[in-house]
């Protein structure tokens, strides 16, 4: 365990105490979260990442929303949404959407799988340092939950005009959001703390 904690938000120094399951250490000066209980359980972590990968695949392979009018069907999922924004220079928005709802979640899942797979067998994953730094950097830019809310708004918006149905993708998206939130709860310091435990 890291014996000294420094608050990210107000720079106050603390001596760390042992946390039990469900405990959260808060800064006395600014209420920031200093540390959470981290059950470094690689098994369940790995299981969550595998679940995330499956949900991500379903969300991208099945329609999230679809409309059928007079025998003509249109479908939408993340990629259809990205492609519909590809129009001249508006494509910068397509790029933004592709990054935040497809590329970054995909990279998060792949890298976490890599790290946890090695950690599960007590080995230090190749490229651990750069991978952890990258995960820390991209974390604020993962917008799966916003996409889910957007899909719900689109349903209500279009339901007045056309018969719109939610496909399997929307459930997969909801599950993916939950699983990524569970994996993302852990702060970077906790992730790094597994490093000494695994052989270098």
């Amino acid at each position: 365990m890291n014996p000294i904690l420094i608050c990210r938000d107000c720079d106050t120094v603390y001596r760390a105490i042992a946390l039990r399951r469900g405990d959260v250490a808060l800064c006395r000066r600014c209420d920031a979260v200093l540390a959470r209980y981290f059950g470094a359980d690689m098994e369940s972590g790995l299981a969550l990442v595998c679940a995330a990968a499956i949900f991500f695949a379903i969300a991208n392979l099945t329609p999230i929303l679809s409309i059928t009018v007079a025998g003509v069907e249109t479908k939408a999922n993340i990629w259809f949404a990205v492609r519909s924004l590809q129009q001249g220079w508006i494509s910068v928005a397509a790029l933004g959407l592709a990054f935040t709802t497809f590329l970054i979640p995909a990279v998060q899942i792949a890298l976490l799988f890599w790290v946890l797979l090695f950690a599960r067998f007590g080995l230090r994953p190749p490229g651990f340092g750069p991978i952890m730094k990258l995960l820390h950097r991209i974390r604020p830019w993962s917008m799966t939950e916003v996409f889910l809310l957007g899909a719900l708004v689109a349903i209500v918006k279009l339901a007045n005009w056309v018969p719109i149905t939610a496909g399997a993708g929307i459930w997969a998206m909801a599950a993916l959001t939950t699983v990524l939130a569970l994996l993302g709860r852990c702060d970077p310091a906790s992730w790094w703390s597994i490093a000494p435990a695994v052989k270098t």
Binding site: I90, G96, V153, L158
Partner: protein, 205 residues
Amino acid sequence: MTPLKQSLELGLSLCRTCGLAVSRASLEADRRCPRCQSRIEHRTPLSSEMTLAWLIAGIVFYIPANLLPVMHTSGLLGEADSTILGGILEFWRAGDWDIALLIFIASVAVPFTKFIAISLLLLTVRKNSRWEQRQRTTLYRIVEFIGYWSMLDVIVVALTSALMQFQVLGTAEPRAGIAFFCAVVVVTMLSASSFDPRLIWDRRT
């Protein structure tokens, strides 16, 4: 209770990437974190300047994002361009006040809250203010948390355009406003992440 001390008083620095507390005396000339090799800065360099620059960019992009149409629809009911505010009003008039409220929060209230909150943080930090430090730090965390929800409208327009592709019934296409709106979300997120909240607690003389 023991008095609270900041890291500088104890000769420590925090690695913001991996959360390690590092003794300043043990750092080499290149100031790399011994655990993750990131460069350790006692305070984020040029934090206020970068925050202000991204904030101004956000406010500038917010103007065309609202003035220009975000979507073009054509169909049985004729052709129409809709702006963000126009879309909200349409939902409101149609009786969908809940959706109107949701889009209003994501597209108007959240960006405005960010502009005002970041300006307030920058001003008080510049004036070296001791006013409500705890609440201002909470304000910073709120700004960081609400940041990406503004992407909602971009996603709604993208999904609507993807779905409404019927020759007879109607089609929907994205318009320039949505690209500016996407830019607002990105640069205001960069603005918030450039801000170093520890400046709220620093006493510079």
